[in-house]
Amino acid sequence: MLKIKKITIENFRGLRLPVSVDFVKGNKMTSALIYGRNGTGKSSIVDAWEWLLNTSIENLEREGISLADLPHKASGGNNSYITAEFQHSSIGTVTAQFNPKKISVPTRTGEFDEFKTLSNYPNFLRYIDLNEFVCNKRPAERYKYIAKFFGLEKFSLLQDTMQTAINKQTSNLQNLQSAFDGSSRTINAITGLPTVDEATIVAFINTIASKHKLPTITAFKEAGTVKTALQIIVQKNPITKELTEWKAFQLRQNSFYPIATAKTNCIALESLFTDLKQNEESIKQLILSSLYELSIEIIPKLEDKSTCPVCDETFEGDLLKHITTKHNSLSALTKKKTDFEAKKSLLEKQFEGISRKIAVIEAESSSVVLAAFQTFFDDIISINITLPALIETLKKQLRDLTTLSISSDLSIGKIDTIISSEATSKIFVADKISALSKDETTKSLAQDYTNISNIIDNFRSHSINKEKVAYLKNITDNLQVFFNNLTTYIQTEIQNTFTTISADVVDYFNVLENSHPDIKNPALKLLTGKDKAVELEIEFVTEKITPAFKFLSESQVNSFGLAIFLASVKHFNKDFKFFILDDVVNSFDSFKRPRVAKLLASKFSDFQVLMITHDQIFFDTVQKLFPEWQRYKFTAWEYATGPKCKPSKNYLEEIQSYIDDDNPITAGQTLGKYLEWIFGILCENMETPIPYRIENIYTLSEYYNPLAKRFRDKLKLPNTQHKLFGLLDEFETGTIFRNYCVHWKNEANQFTTEEIDAIFKKWIEIEQMIFCNLCKSFVHYESISNTNYVRCDCGATNLLDQIHYTSTK
């Protein structure tokens, strides 16, 4: 079994000086907890871990942050690394160091390959990933996460990239098929026959050859001889020659037109460009749009509506209104930017289309036609010189464009001139053909020559495209079979894996959501008829609800997502029982956060965890429940040094330390805060009635007295004395607790170290009786079928057990 001993990171993202997270305490392997406000560099640790595993950081990539930006700026890309030390028979240390010469390939040392074979599955989860997974309205995005959680990332990636290739080749095939069909139709129109084959073509050519007393042919490859012979006859007749040239040009002309004006689109694009450039600073903020959107959903559910969930800063005023205004302003900008990109792409395609048409018509070689349309062809040449530069401009990103003035380009005016001359020029050509066709013999000869030319060109194109279509169809068909097999495999694996872990998912979900008995049986549902679509399903009372997020609160769907992630980790990470949770409790209601800790205690006691949080209460909770964990506080961050990181004590250790230092005032105040917190939890657990206070501020006595009474009421049995009663009596009478309750916040009232120590020790005795170290929960009161229970979550600590009573007889 691979165990992690230490992670050290230097010069990576927000970490400058080396930061070490130790997973060994007193010679024992343990977990670690990191607390720090937003912006203190905590998440750089999970970033570095992901980089160690995958050489990329997906969520940063999505935000456009390149690998070159990973080292701390002051390091210049030097000595930027993460080192993980392990306890294992053959894996000691693994290091990934940023390689400035080849940023996509870090320099790896140690037993990396062996480590990777034991750390194949995703073992880290960020709040942003959890939220994306459960709340994303696109089932395809959820599918990606599920594939990742279930170790199918490479398969899913192959599916994604292959889908793009299939789409492109299918489109190519359609274009080839369309060209093939077009040549078939042209040939059918010329021959008047429904079939297209060499015999039909040869027969048609021979009919014309015979008509003009030319030698007939036996195979298509000889068709050129008839055409050449006919051309000689045509050349001898200047009118026929000119007529054939005009007819050939008419064909080109008909495929050249119509052309849509580009000027209007250019002006609209330039107007949007000017508008967006004036808001360039705001455009940089567009990345926040989705965070604002999420905040608008979250803020009404928050208890503290003055702290911004985006930046964690306090806001004076109506935060929801402020965020909504920001979001609306960004929404309008997003719409404009989307509009700009769409118009830019449309114009680019329009210019490319014009380029293709020009390529066909500029092949004209008839001197008669060129002379008659000299201005037209001069304009075509001029447009053709300018268009590539305009297309290049349109390919640029908004941020890379400093100016945009296409509409004033000469070629745009020339395109409009050509468009306006369409009707006139077509009439001119038609009149020419009509004038030259007055003599039937001439007309017939010209038509025969035109037909021969066209049928040869089209049959060549037909033969080439026929082969190409067959070749490409074979590829796309096989590719599709491969893709279908891949899709079936992934879907089967997802379904099988979920079936395997579903008992754990349900179990973990129930731990997190035990206050909602009507919400149960979370399940994954693959959407039928879609290759890549997964929905989360939940059962409410007896009805199945899909997608679950339509019905559940954000906190509840997050429980669902976390349950799936943890069940996957447990199922897959059998050789390396370690995972990182980065701020995942962020979206949980405050009363639910301790349940995450209890879930880890009850189901993941054999795992090592790196828990990262910016929530002080959750930090205190985890500190209390897992005193054996390593604990760190990131207190501040500076560019030159990175985070200020120091080991942290939990409440009990802190109080003991103040007592040891003979600092009774601070010890008393810390103990007061601790008791306030624990009394609150106990009052809730015991369903203790407390007098309502509108200002929501309670003294210790106001918590403690009803709580003690509640314990006495619920544990009272005839002819016996509960041991807790004795402890409570000693706590109340053997210490100065009553006096302390009233004055603990007042520094002027001096308590001695011995007095605080006595209260502290006595309370610890009580706590040992009412707290279960197995499931990390305090006892709670519940009544099931008229039977009362005062027990912990797992039932190991049951205060109504006889062992807790002494006889009074």
């Binding site: 490479k154 290739a165 490859k221 000889e222 060549r460 082969e467 590829i475 096989n478 079979v481 694996e493």
Partner: protein, 64 residues
């Protein structure tokens, strides 16, 4: 975790008719997905070769 290469080997064994195609396709598959660009170029070359083959059948025509 199931290995991609193992899955491809299994697919070839279960679908022998796909064997040649999948063997060629493997050249475009790696841990980073499907190299669509390289694949497109290969298909383009294949199409070009088909065109050349057909054009060869017109050569006599040109000589005459």
């Amino acid at each position: 975790m199931a290995d991609l290469k193992d899955w491809i080997t299994g697919l070839k064994s279960e679908n022998p008719e796909l064997n040649d195609f999948v063997t060629k396709l493997e050249g475009f598959i790696s841990d980073t997905g499907f190299n669509a660009l390289k694949f497109e170029k290969a298909v383009e070359i294949g199409l070009q070769m088909k065109e050349e083959e057909v054009k060869k059948t017109f050569i006599a025509d040109a000589e005459n």
